[in-house]
Every structure is written in C-alpha cells, then in structure tokens.
Symmetry: none
Subunit: 117 residues, 4 copies
DNA sequence: GTGGTCTAGACCACC
DNA sequence: GTGGTCTAGACCACA
C-alpha cells in the first residue's frame, strides 16, 4: 500500500478498509488484522494503525473484543454508505458542479467519455 | 466565510478569489481588498491573506502595485481555467467517478436532478 | 451478559456472582457452574472465568473441591457485605454526591422518584 | 494535579477541564492552555494533552482555531451537563441503588448524614 | 507560536 | 497473544 503525500496515513488506512468492506472483501464478523500485524505488513507504526481502528470504531464500523481483536460490525457497510453518500451528495457534489460550471465543463458531455471506466 | 476542516485556509481564500474572478464578480484591473482589510473581514491573520495573495501572484492571477495594492491581472481568467480544467479532468474526475461507483450512485441519473442549478 | 467498557471482564463476572449471592439466588454450599460451562454461556474465555473464581476464592467467598467444582462458602454473604459496604460508604459515596452537586441533581428529590424500585 | 492509578491520564485531564467549565473557572470563548504549556505544567507528554483535547473536541466542548489554540465552546456547559446527567441517571444511578439495596444500606438515612457536605 | 502526525519503544492489564 | 496508554522526540504545515 502506498500513501498519498498530504492525507494522514491513518485516514488512508481507514479509507482503505472501508473500501474493502464496500467491495465485500471484508464481511461482517470477520476479524481484521491486529494492530501489530497490519503495522508490520504496511511498514507503519502500530500506533498509527491503532488510530485508524479507533476512528473506525467511533463510527461503529468495527468493534473490539477485548484481548481478541477487532471485527467488522454487522452494520458496517450501511454505515459507510450512509455517511459517505450523504456527505458526497450534500457537500461535495454541489461544489463539484459549481466548479465545473465556472470552468465551462459540460457535465453531460463529460459523462459520455467517462462512463465506460 | 467558513473554512473547510482539512484544507489550508490560505488555499481556500485563494480558491474563493478565483471563483469570483471566474464569475466576473472581480474583473481585470480591479483592486482587491488589502491584506489587512480582508484579514479583518474574514477574522483571519493578515499573514494568511498574504500567503493567499502570494500564491495567486505566483500564477500571474493577481499583481501588486507597490504602495497601492493588489489587482486582478488581465489574463487572470484564462490562467485559472487552463490550470484548473486540466487538473480537474485528469486528476479529480476519475476519483470522483470511482467513488460514486463504490457508493452506488448513478452519475447519469444524478445529473437529471442537478442540471437545473 | 453485557460488559462494561472500562472495567475488567473478570471483575464484572465476579460482581455479578456476588449480586446473586446477596440476593440469595445462590446459597451456601451451592455448586456454581464450572469454568468451562460459564465460559461457554457468557461467550468468554475460560481463563477469564478462572480469574474471577480465583478472585472470589481469595476473599473466601467461594471455595474449591478438587475434581468436583466451586461452591459458595457459608460466610459468603457476610464477607461480601462487610467488604463492599465500607468501601461503598467511605470511597464511592462522597464521589457520587460531589458529582451530583456539580450536575445540579438534588439527592433528596431524586429519592422520592426512585425509592419504589 | 495528581493522577488516579487506573484511569487513563488523558481522561482525567479531560474530566478536570469539564469540572472547571461546570464551575465556570473556564468560560465560553476562553482560550485554554496550548498542548505544550499544559504538558509542561502537568508534567505530562504533550501528546497526552492532545488526546484529552481531541476527546473534548469530539463532544463539541472545545474547538480549535488553527494556528491559534483551543477554546471553550459556547455550549460547553450544556453539553457536559446533558451528557453526564443522562449517563448518571440512566446508567449509574440504577446500579447504585440496586447495590445499596443488596448491601442493606438505606438511602434516606444515609442522606441525613451526608447532605451537609 | 500553534496543532497534527508519526515513529520507536516501553509498560500494562487483560484474554 | 490482544489492545491501550504513555513517553520522548521528531518533523511538518499552518497562522
């Protein structure tokens, strides 16, 4: 895994996990790697992994069984979608459309070329 | 003006000015507010405004008359468009579309509801 | 059984057993569940149950017959009361009252509504 | 400030700040000490202070002005009271009363001796 | 100056 | 073995 320059690593790790949940690579009740394991794997300090897990737990996306590890929660996928979808549609989309308008980019035309991806 | 959590304030201020240039609220040769004025207005440290102006000046979007103030350059609009357009299409758009896919948002449908804005 | 966030599970299990002794759901000479049984029942590692039993045994609340199991001791109830009562009154109560004061909760009023439980 | 053995330092620091807000030693819009300052003052690592501040910010009790510092939010007091009061009454109080009953402590009598504090 | 992130490494309680 | 907390110290971007 390679990290983007300007976004905190722990958030990138969290996002990555969310993507894997959305794509169902990780499913509810799955145990995710321990902070140490994943730290080794990614070449990152366990504390940083911890922070990512903390972040996800605060949203109810993962949960902890004490002394055992972290697990994907049952509602993980719905939570992620609802949080991100709402944020995307209410906050980001208007900005994007406004910006396209200012830049003179026509959304409809654009889509013709990009929908195949 | 409200500031986004994770983006530097000076960039947000610069973006805001660009938007006003694109929408022709500011036109070539217009004098923009002094660093102090704008700082007061936005409740922001003048140094931060300075940084935004520096940034815009480095792109040739605004220029400085010593002892007088900052002004919009003649080519401001074209510069902004050329820079932002290619960045938008090449870097941001793919990410946006990928994300919409993951979230199960259909771009074409979305547009029907949003084109009126 | 659900476990509190910040208190060790083994202590919560021990407390729970004490409550059952105080309420006489468990009586002297009763045999309590084996470590394995209770572990299964609570979805908890048997070691954790063991630790709870060890803890209670160290206070003389339960005792072990080798190869047979754990049993409630004759003096269990008195021991629990004497230990917990003084700890409650000397240590916890002052904190509780102080906190209620800060939160603007009036102890006397509260009791009127709660004494029926 | 002295720290309790078994509760995380960062939470004790957060609680302490809450107490000061409740008692109006700190008021809305006040700037609280920087993480470094308070770290020095308490003989604690700045990271630990940071964690306490993070925690409080997540409840909206304090907020950050970037590059400037942390400030008490307008609603700080109400937030603290509502959070703690609800937790106290709904979660802790029933346990306390149940425990007193089991231990044979009479709430009404107790109050007579303690209300003077 | 401020906070924010990250590392390396330690120690601890708990399972 | 697991997570959780803490320290010391570094580096960075931002105001």
């Amino acid at each position: 895994m390679e990290f983007n320059e300007h976004k905190p690593i722990y958030l990138q790790i969290a996002d990555n996990l969310c993507d894997k949940i959305l794509s169902e690579e990780w499913k509810p009740e799955d145990r995710i790697p321990s902070v140490r394991e994943l730290g080794m794997l990614l070449g990152v300090n366990p504390n940083t992994i911890m922070r990512a897990y903390d972040y996800l737990q605060s949203y109810g996306i993962i949960f902890n069984k004490r002394g055992v590890g972290y697990f994907i929660s049952k509602e993980a996928k719905e939570i992620i979608i609802s949080v991100q979808k709402q944020q995307f549609i209410q906050e980001e989309l208007p900005k994007i459309l406004k910006r396209m308008k200012l830049l003179g980019i026509n959304p409809s035309e654009l889509l013709k070329n990009n929908l195949d991806n």
